[in-house]
């Protein structure tokens, strides 16, 4: 069984200025978004997390997913008892909020514009503003008023929606992140997470979440937030297609032994990535082609002396801070 350590001294200096890095440059605050690349490849972690490089332009998948999850979180917050809004009022508020959030006020035009996305490869072209609103309305038509799972309330009475968490793994490592929602379903408590995909939904789709870095962390984090073990993670997946959005609810579970193993392995990977800095951030070339290709494929395929130029010209800097509160 894992042990929680409560010595906060090593990170205090860094935390004071909101930095996830210790004064010597090692990352102390880890979320699944930074731990994922660290597990994949040290070079990818260096480019993405340490230097903050991202592919240029808006990532349709990320923007769509973020707006979709945010809309549903808002709905559940507005509906939360004791003074929650009616389904209709909450739905109107959420649609208005999402229409506003997906409007580019600087350019006075919509984001996720179908005309701009139509030439993108794969399912990115379906992550349009119209399909976003359709997906929200359809999800809330299906689950809004008739959902057998209900938002739970924390000890202080606040609804357990959009929960930030942070807990200590070792003296120098903290794990952090955000949970969409904690729900009561049947006789158990679950973390609920929203996913959007272009894939057909079914058993094959949900298999990808065990083992899975993010879901393992969520499962452990929920125990910490809720202070008693939760049953698992409930994944509400939305298949975004040309003319429809289809939903499927799947579950993924972790035993306490699996959670302990994940924490042990996470510590190993973090310590390895700390060492990688001294070794020049070695490349793991067996991971380059995963998930349709690493975003830094075009850089790593070049000779080392010209890579910096390719990074400067082909990417933009958007630094990811796991400590940032949503």
């Amino acid at each position: 069984m894992m042990q929680w350590v409560h010595d906060e001294m090593p990170r205090l200096k860094a935390e004071a200025n909101g930095s996830p890095y210790l004064p010597d440059g090692r990352q102390w605050a880890w979320d699944s978004s930074s731990l994922g690349p660290a597990k994949d490849c040290a070079r990818k972690y260096f480019y993405q997390q340490i230097l903050g490089y991202r592919q240029k332009g808006e990532n349709a998948h990320l923007t769509f997913g973020r707006l979709y999850a945010s809309a549903l979180e808002t709905y559940h917050k507005l509906r939360a008892e004791p003074n929650g809004l009616s389904h209709r009022d909450a739905l109107y508020n959420v649609v208005h909020k999402t229409m506003t959030a997906s409007w580019d006020f600087d350019r006075d035009k919509p984001r996720l514009d179908s005309e701009e996305l139509r030439d993108l490869p794969g399912s990115a072209r379906y992550k349009t503003r119209e399909n976003l609103i359709r997906s929200i309305v359809w999800y809330l038509d299906q689950f809004g008023d008739n959902d057998p799972c209900k938002t739970v309330h924390l000890a202080d009475g606040t609804p357990a929606v959009e929960l930030s968490f942070r807990f200590q793994l070792t003296e120098e490592i903290w794990l952090c992140g955000h949970l969409d929602r904690l729900v009561q379903y049947g006789d158990g408590i679950y973390v609920q997470d929203q996913k959007t995909t272009g894939s057909t939904l079914g058993g094959y789709y949900f298999k990808r979440y065990n083992p899975d870095n993010q879901m393992s962390l969520y499962s452990i984090a929920a125990d910490v937030v809720w202070k008693t073990p939760v049953k698992g993670v409930m994944i509400d997946a939305a298949q975004i297609a040309v003319g429809f959005t289809r939903f499927e609810r799947g579950f993924t579970f972790r035993t306490s032994e699996q959670s302990a193993e994940w924490l042990h392995d996470a510590e190993y990977h973090i310590k390895m990535i700390w060492r990688a800095a001294d070794e020049g951030w070695p490349m793991n070339d067996s991971a380059c082609q995963k998930y349709g290709g690493c975003p830094f494929l075009d850089v790593c395929s070049k000779s080392p002396q010209v890579r910096e130029d390719f990074l400067e010209s082909g990417y933009e800097k958007r630094v990811w801070n796991p400590l940032e509160v949503r």
Binding site: L91, Y92, V95, H96, M99, T100, W103, F105, D108, K109, P110, S114, E115, R118, P121, G122, S123, R125, T128, R129, E130, I133, R134, V137, W138, D141, A241, V242, G243, F244
Partner: protein, 128 residues
């Protein structure tokens, strides 16, 4: 060279181009065409089948589905092109009602609202 026929289906998103293409493919395969389909989902499908009762060269058919814009009513398109901070409650009502109606249709038919089963006449399409 075997004869090569081409069909292009053009229309807004979700208007049933893909479904219609597959109805054509079903019929065309029965008539011995090699098929290539270029669809919005990036799938390039190539299927071959023997022409029944024929020893001659196979014919090939290429179908392209081209999307020309979003499938939405003029009212909805106008609302989506407008600054949402200026929406009235009626505007929101219109948006929500239209998507709820689309869902009802989807639930009733099990497919995209505009995709309807239409008879395919290969001769009428100039393929035979």
């Amino acid at each position: 060279m075997p004869p090569k026929m081409k069909i292009t289906l053009e229309g807004p998103q979700g208007t049933g181009k893909s479904i219609f293409a597959w109805f054509i493919i079903e019929k065309a395969l029965e008539s011995g065409f090699d098929i290539k389909l270029y669809d919005a989902s990036d799938t390039i499908t190539s299927r071959a089948s023997r022409r029944k009762n024929s020893t001659g060269p196979k014919r090939s058919l290429e179908i392209r589905c081209l999307q020309t814009g979003a499938n939405m009513s003029d009212t909805l398109a106008e609302l989506f092109s407008r600054d949402p901070l200026k929406y009235s409650e009626q505007d929101l009502e219109t948006i929500i009602a239209e998507y709820q109606e689309k869902r009802q249709l989807f639930m009733a038919t099990g497919k995209a609202p505009t995709a309807t089963k239409r008879p395919v006449d290969l001769a009428g399409l100039g393929l035979l």
